[in-house]
């Protein structure tokens, strides 16, 4: 074997050895990188937190939705929502947690249970009742107009109607 061939063989050996080492380090770093990715916690944004908080109210600050309430208590609640979202809780789970802990009044809309049903049933019922009353009133008014009731007088020209009334009033006055 000549010296040139030996050098070439040595270079090839060194190159392959370097390659093996690089591969080894790459494989070593792969799980570390994956672990680093896993270790980076998911931090829900303010928008994600507020999307849930806007439908909730803290009993301490009545009439102020949780997403805009500036008190420390509400800030802690929003932080709790953020932590729960980070743990993968759904909106329903979060709301259920708050209801169990702080009562149903934390919700902007009461859950449809028991007497709360009235809140959901009454407005459409009142609307339907209003429409029915209106329809009946309009029918009665139309029927009245057609049958020559006093409202029929309204269809006469204004002056004529006025004269007719004047004539009747005068008639009645004469009888007195």
């Amino acid at each position: 074997m000549c010296a040139h061939e030996a050098d070439l063989e040595g270079t090839v050996n060194r190159t392959s050895s370097l390659f093996v080492w690089m591969l080894f380090f790459a494989l070593l770093l792969l799980p570390i990188s994956a672990m680093a990715q896993e270790a980076t916690p998911y931090v829900p944004s303010d928008d994600e937190v507020n999307a849930i908080a806007k439908d909730m109210y803290c009993p301490v600050c009545e009439n102020t939705p949780l997403d805009v309430c500036p008190t420390q208590a509400c800030e802690e609640w929003r932080q709790l929502i953020r932590e729960q979202l980070a743990q993968g809780w759904s909106e329903e789970q979060i709301k259920q947690f708050f209801v169990e802990r702080y009562g149903a009044r934390v919700l902007s809309a009461p859950p449809p249970r028991g007497i709360n049903w009235l809140v959901y049933v009454m407005p459409p019922l009142a609307f339907i009742a209003g429409v029915l009353i209106l329809v009946r009133a309009m029918r009665a008014w139309k029927a009245g107009t057609g049958a020559g009731t006093p409202s029929a007088v309204e269809e006469l020209p204004a002056e004529e109607a006025h004269d007719e009334y004047l004539r009747r009033v005068e008639e009645e006055l004469k009888k007195l």
């Binding site: 301490v60 208590a73 802990r101 009044r105 009235l118 009731t149 009645e172 009888k175």
Partner: protein, 190 residues
């Protein structure tokens, strides 16, 4: 003079009221609704939180897992304190309450109960640790207890005598340990 002045051309007046099942149903529905509202309001005002009246009964699960029912504490004088970790006036009285508790605890016939109102558990526990509070404390789950006592905020303190009657209400923080001792002591002699 004629008795009535009614134009002859006007149609005969309709009967004032006609029986109709629809009307009956509507009135029955409205009546039922009013009754429902009446009883709802009556129930909402049902709890009588007044001095001299029996204290509303409740069950408190403490942070260390004890289940304490107020009605099971007859024979003891019970101090019920509503607080929250975010409440600054609560901090003012926290040490005074703990000192008073340590003063009465050896007797065995006085119990202090702390009820955390609209607080997060993590913050509540940190608060208890910060002020070294050792008497039983728990969260007001579902704000049921605070609704029973109709609290208006925190801190609020209620004292229940040996017979289970409410004998004292304070809607502000205690200013000193002595003040708490002075409030409780007369009821120990009864």
């Amino acid at each position: 003079m004629p008795d009535e002045v009614i134009p002859s051309s006007l149609p005969d007046a309709q009967p004032a009221s006609r029986f109709s099942w629809g009307r009956v149903l509507v009135w029955a529905f409205l009546g039922g609704l009013l009754l429902l509202l009446f009883f709802g309001l009556l129930r909402a005002q049902g709890t009588n939180v007044r001095i001299g009246k029996p204290a509303p009964d409740f069950t408190l699960t403490t942070y260390d897992g004890q289940v304490i029912q107020l009605s099971a504490l007859r024979g003891k004088v019970v101090l019920i304190n509503f607080w929250a970790s975010w409440c600054k006036p609560c901090e003012d009285e926290a040490e005074e309450l703990e000192a008073a508790w340590r003063y009465f605890q050896p007797r065995g016939d006085v119990l202090f109960l702390g009820i955390a109102w609209t607080d997060t558990e993590e913050k509540s526990l940190a608060y208890l640790q910060r002020f070294g509070i050792t008497y039983p404390n728990g969260a007001d789950m579902g704000t049921r207890i605070s609704q029973l006592y109709r609290i208006t905020g925190v801190p609020e303190t209620y004292l229940v005598d040996r017979q289970g009657n409410l004998v004292y209400i304070k809607i502000s923080p205690f200013l000193s340990t002595q003040e708490i001792i002075d409030v409780i002591t007369p009821y120990l002699e009864q």
